[in-house]
């Protein structure tokens, strides 16, 4: 599904170039559950941002499904992202002025899905994640775990092929984190490819494979 070849990213500073990622080469098959780990500053979130096609200033080759992402422009990458990727953020990043239902509706609205169909999908998502009772509440009225649950639901509602999760349990209690990880495991069993970033070895164990980064380099296993 994903093929990276010699991906590199750097920032130009007064002292020269600072590399965030160096010669990252990896393959991720469809249906895999991969964990990316490493110390702070290793480049984990940066790599996730590149995989999610949010970050455009990098070099190397990136093949996503059959698309040569490295040859696409920002607009084309945004279309790919919209079609195939769901992203779960550490800080949830829900829209504070929208209710839970409206937060779930927004990605569908941006895909020009008709209202009746959107309503059906939102109802389905609310039911699937057992948050029907919370549909009219605002994010500020939810606990951290509930917010992350909504964020995961939002990431999944457009049926992406790939879920990218950047420290999805970083702001949660252990129990809440476990709930989220169990959910990811279930989704993976149903066929969704998941790539997560985490510091936690216990959460990393939910995946099938761990990729370790250090100082921007991929550690050989």
């Amino acid at each position: 599904m994903i093929k990276l070849r010699n991906i590199e990213k750097c920032y130009k500073t007064k002292a020269g170039f600072t590399y965030v990622l160096r010669q990252i080469t990896l393959d991720i098959a469809e249906g895999e559950f991969v964990t990316i780990m490493g110390p702070s500053g290793a480049g984990k979130s940066t790599l996730l941002g590149i995989l999610g096609m949010y970050d455009h200033s990098w070099e190397g080759e990136f093949q996503f499904l059959d698309y040569p992402v490295h040859r696409l422009n920002a607009k084309e990458r945004a279309v790919l992202n919209k079609r195939f990727v769901g992203f779960v953020f550490q800080q949830f990043h829900l829209l504070d002025d929208l209710t839970v239902a409206e937060n779930l509706d927004i990605p569908l609205s941006y895909r020009n899905i008709p209202k009746s169909e959107r309503q059906a999908l939102v109802a389905d998502a609310l039911d699937r994640f057992s948050i029907v009772a919370k549909k009219d509440l605002y994010p500020s009225q939810l606990s951290g775990g509930q917010q992350q649950l909504v964020a995961v639901a939002r990431a999944l509602i457009a049926s992406p092929k790939l879920i990218l999760a950047d420290e999805p349990t970083g702001n949660l209690h252990t129990d809440q984190g476990r709930e989220i990880m169990e959910l990811f495991k279930k989704l993976n069993r149903e066929g969704t490819t998941i790539v997560q970033v985490t510091h936690n070895e216990a959460w990393a164990a939910y995946g099938q494979r761990i990729i370790r980064l250090k100082d921007g380099w991929m550690e050989k296993t």
Partner: protein, 903 residues
């Protein structure tokens, strides 16, 4: 496919979208199944075959999305969604919404109102097609001034002009007409005009009721200027309201006045206030101007130039007519006083100049309106800057939201459309409020227009002004709402999310930009404050100016017009009767309870020429009259006697030449020496000698800044009934002068019924009212300055509040490292104080340059008065610091532990 066809298909797809969606679903499914079957036949497993088919065919949902985008009017659904969301956001932020909407409403409404009034009163006062072809024609008159004034025309001149049809397609004239009706009370007198029968045709204005004159309805006027027989009459709106109660049944009604019967045939609309202004008046049609005294230029004339004829050509023709009249009527046009005025000449000017150059308050109104327009312009600038700042701040705060929306699939266009919808909705609220402010503001401004000012057009909202101010203000709202959004849409989503998650934004540059906007606001506010402060100082000085007499508890009583010499048979008889009447009135008023003193006063309208002893060249002096002894004007008004003596009874009589002069005349005629016993001579040879010098007394009905005329007084009796203003009685009361008015009226009725109703002036009130234009202008400047000040304070508060929110982490770290609360407060106050200080400094420079434009409105105040400037600078700085206080206090309440923990 052409545009119309595409639109038609999209409309159909929108209306029948359910059917189209079902057909699309079936087609998509069929394609995928066909591909899967092909993959199966190629040897793949069922699951693999289906996945490969989906991959090969492309993701179904995204294809559907593309199809939906191509058909239908999806943007309508998005618009509805954006409008709903925008409405919710505005409701959730009522403070922001109210401030922006009110700010816009004030800027749009006030600007449009002022400009609409200006347009009617100054820029385009003449209605109808080709207003530039309408001209006024008059005789050059020097009157009291050195520069020529535009006077009326004599009757022979009017008759000649009516024959000049090669230059004028229409010539109309009017002459004032006074009518009287006997009543149980005083004689009911009311003024109007005798006009040419074609008078109303020139203005292109339809009557409100009935009709105007036909040519055959004109009547001849007698020697006194009154109609020789019964005739028709058109009423002004004000007269119709005041005398006929606005009765729509007035048409055809006949009433008697001055021995004639007048039938009402029409009523003019309320905005037809020409030539008398808003006073009640009437018009009767006459064949020719009054035959009376042919020397007097009492007729006003207007004309329409023929197409192709220029003003210069018309003037050349008038010069020729003037030469013709001089030749034919030398006794009239080459008389002594015309020669003194520079000789007889005719002039013409565009009719529009009549509205802006008449002396009766027009100058004050013009200056007030221009000044208001300038002030409004600055308020509008402050409004735009403030709205821009608020919109910038709000959109900056939403960088996080915009990044999330981009992360979940919103394209740049979608984000911009959403923000544009919000900006337009907010701007629409402001525009609606602006319309309300416009109409209210115009009502208030119309009340500023002096009653005496002529008008031909109704005052309405000027569409161009409204459109211009709407575009300016709404443009500010939209521009400042969209610019940060466009900037955000170009930034990296991941970078934006990361910074937003850390409580930062991408707006270091915008922060400086907002600071610059605040500085601009403060500078403009200081300019307005300086103007307001100067006007306040000026008005205070005006109101406290010593008028040269004691104005407290002082009442002027003006008896109505009395019968003249034509009634009594001779000038002497009329004079004697008037003098006796005033003496009797004096004695009766003096006997009324509550009266402390009664004086008698009279003034000429213009200076006349007198020659001082030992000089050849005449000098202009103003003759005036005073009572003698108990009816002495100076004692009643408490005008100080500086030297010499008051008049005694032996000073009365036209064989006596003793005069009392005022200080201005004394200094003018005999600078550096005493005026006592000095002499001067009238043109007719009468010799005058100064026996007393009194202090200068301001003319109560003049402008506040009128200079005192060089005046000499004689006993009023020698000119009691004709010429000039008065005589009138001056009464010093013990209590409120208004309380005596009924008793005074009754006394006058008992003494002489053959006068029109008297009118009264409470002097303190009159002195106050003559500063109305300046006080009104001051009031508006104070209001505008207050608005500017509030908006500036809001701007500073907004910038600082945002800065504190953005620097919460930094403040937490500083406090964790040992910073005290007062140090944190000082840090925030310094940031705000710096902005305020720069703004105040810039504002002072601006004000020093711009306030000189106020010079003509100021009274005994310099446009750069240092005390005023210092005061407003301090005030603005203090208010700015106050605006900094709340954010500074909030900053001191940051809990370093919880701030750092959240990192």
């Amino acid at each position: 496919m052409n545009l119309l066809r595409r639109l038609q298909l999209r409309l159909r797809a929108t209306v029948r979208k359910g059917q189209f969606d079902r057909e699309m679903d079936e087609e998509m499914r069929a394609h995928v199944e066909m591909q899967a079957q092909a993959n199966l036949e190629a040897g793949m497993g069922p699951e693999e075959a289906r996945r490969a088919a989906l991959r090969q065919f492309g993701w179904v949902e995204s294809i559907k999305e593309t199809c939906r985008e191509q058909r239908g009017i999806v943007w309508l659904e998005h618009l509805a969604q954006d409008v709903r969301y925008a409405g919710r956001l505005l409701r959730k932020n009522p403070g922001f919404t109210a401030v922006v909407a009110l700010t816009l409403a004030l800027g749009i409404g006030a600007s449009t109102a002022v400009f609409s009034v200006l347009d009617t009163v100054l820029f385009h006062p003449v209605p109808g097609p080709e207003p530039h072809r309408l001209v006024e024609i008059g005789e050059r008159s020097h009157g009291n001034k050195d520069e020529p004034r535009f006077g009326g025309l004599t009757t022979p001149a009017v008759e000649v002009l009516k024959t000049k049809s090669e230059v004028f397609s229409d010539v109309v004239w009017y002459s004032s007409l006074w009518m009287e009706r006997t009543t149980a009370d005083f004689i009911d007198g009311f003024g109007g005009d005798a006009v040419s029968a074609n008078f109303f045709a020139l203005w292109n204005i339809k009557p409100l009721l009935g009709r105007t004159f036909g040519r055959d309805e004109a009547v001849r006027l007698n020697e006194r200027g009154e109609p020789e027989r019964d005739c028709v009459m058109v009423l002004s709106y004000a007269l119709w309201q005041s005398r006929f109660g606005g009765d729509r049944g007035v048409l055809g009604r006949t009433f008697e006045a001055s021995g004639r019967h007048f039938t009402v045939i029409g009523v003019m609309p309320p905005h037809f206030q020409f030539p008398a202004g808003a006073y009640p008046t009437f018009w009767v049609p006459a064949e020719t101007p009054p035959p009376g005294d042919v020397e007097l230029a009492n007729n006003s004339v207007f004309a329409r130039l023929r197409p192709g004829v220029t003003l210069a050509q018309a003037q050349a023709m008038l010069d020729m007519v003037a030469r013709q009249l001089l030749q034919e009527f030398p006794a009239i046009y080459d008389n002594s006083w015309r020669r003194r005025g520079g000789g007889f000449a005719l002039m013409t000017r565009p009719l529009a100049n009549t509205f802006t150059q008449t002396p009766y308050g027009a100058k004050d109104l013009q200056q007030t309106l221009w000044g208001l327009l300038a002030a409004i312009g600055f308020v509008l600038l402050i409004v735009c800057v403030n709205v821009g700042n608020l919109m910038l701040a709000r959109t900056e705060k939403r960088q996080h939201e915009l990044a999330i929306r981009a992360a979940v699939g919103a394209g740049r266009g979608r984000l911009l459309r959403q923000l544009l919808t919000e900006s337009l909705l907010l701007a629409g609220l402001g525009a609606a409020g602006g319309l309300a402010v416009t109409f209210s503001g115009m009502k208030i401004l119309v009340s500023l227009i002096p009653q005496s000012m002529p008008r031909l057009r109704p005052i309405q909202v000027d569409g161009h002004a409204l459109a211009a101010t709407l575009i300016m203000a709404l443009g500010a709202a939209v521009l400042f709402g969209l610019v940060p959004a466009w900037h955000a849409s170009r930034a990296s989503v991941s970078g934006a999310l990361k910074q937003a998650g850390m409580g930062m934004t991408l707006s270091a540059g915008w922060r400086r930009y907002r600071g610059a906007l605040v500085v601009a606001e403060v500078a403009l506010s200081l300019l307005l404050l300086a103007g307001a402060g100067l006007m306040i100082e000026s008005v205070i000085r005006m109101l406290n100016t010593n008028p040269g007499f004691d104005p407290e508890k002082l009442l002027f009583v003006h008896p109505g017009l009395l019968r003249g010499e034509k009634y009594y048979g001779s000038y002497e008889a009329a004079n004697a009767r008037a003098a006796a009447l005033f003496e009797e009135l004096h004695d009766r008023f003096a006997a009324l309870p509550g009266v402390k003193a009664v004086g008698i006063s009279k003034f000429e309208f213009f200076r006349l020429g007198y020659t001082l002893d030992g000089q050849d060249k005449p000098i202009g002096l103003l003759p005036a009259g005073t009572g003698v002894g108990q009816s002495d004007l100076f004692r009643a008004m408490r005008i100080p006697l500086l030297a010499g003596r008051y008049f005694e009874k032996t000073d009365i009589g036209d064989k006596v030449g003793t005069v009392i002069v005022n200080q201005t005349m004394s200094r003018l005629c005999w600078p550096g020496e005493s005026a006592l016993n000095k002499r001067f001579r009238a043109a007719g040879g009468r010799v005058y000698e100064v026996v007393g010098i009194v202090g200068d007394a301001a003319e109560v009905r003049g402008r506040f800044d009128d200079k005192v005329e060089p005046t000499f007084y004689r006993p009023y009796q020698e000119n009691a009934h004709s010429g000039g203003f008065g005589p009138y009685l001056v009464i010093r009361t013990q209590g409120d002068p208004r309380g005596l008015i009924p008793a005074i009226r009754d006394t006058m009725k008992a003494v002489e019924r053959s006068m029109t109703a008297p009118w009264f002036e409470v002097v303190r009130q009159t002195l106050y009212e003559r500063t109305q234009a300046q006080r009104t202008y001051m009031l508006y400047l104070v209001i505008f300055a207050g608005v500017g000040l509030s908006l500036s304070a809001l701007g500073i508060y907004g910038v600082l509040a945002y800065s504190v929110a953005r620097r919460t982490r930094e403040i937490g770290i500083r406090m964790a490292l040992g910073a005290q609360r007062r140090q944190v407060m000082a840090m925030v106050m310094t940031e705000g104080g710096r902005l305020a200080a720069i703004g105040v400094a810039a504002g002072l420079v601006l004000a020093l340059w711009m306030t000189r434009l106020l010079r003509s409105q100021l009274y005994e105040v310099s446009p750069t008065d240092p005390a005023v400037f210092a005061a407003v600078a301090l005030l603005l700085f203090a208010v700015a610091l106050l605006a900094c206080l709340l954010p500074a206090i909030r900053a001191t309440r940051v809990d370093p532990m919880s701030t750092l923990r959240s990192e």
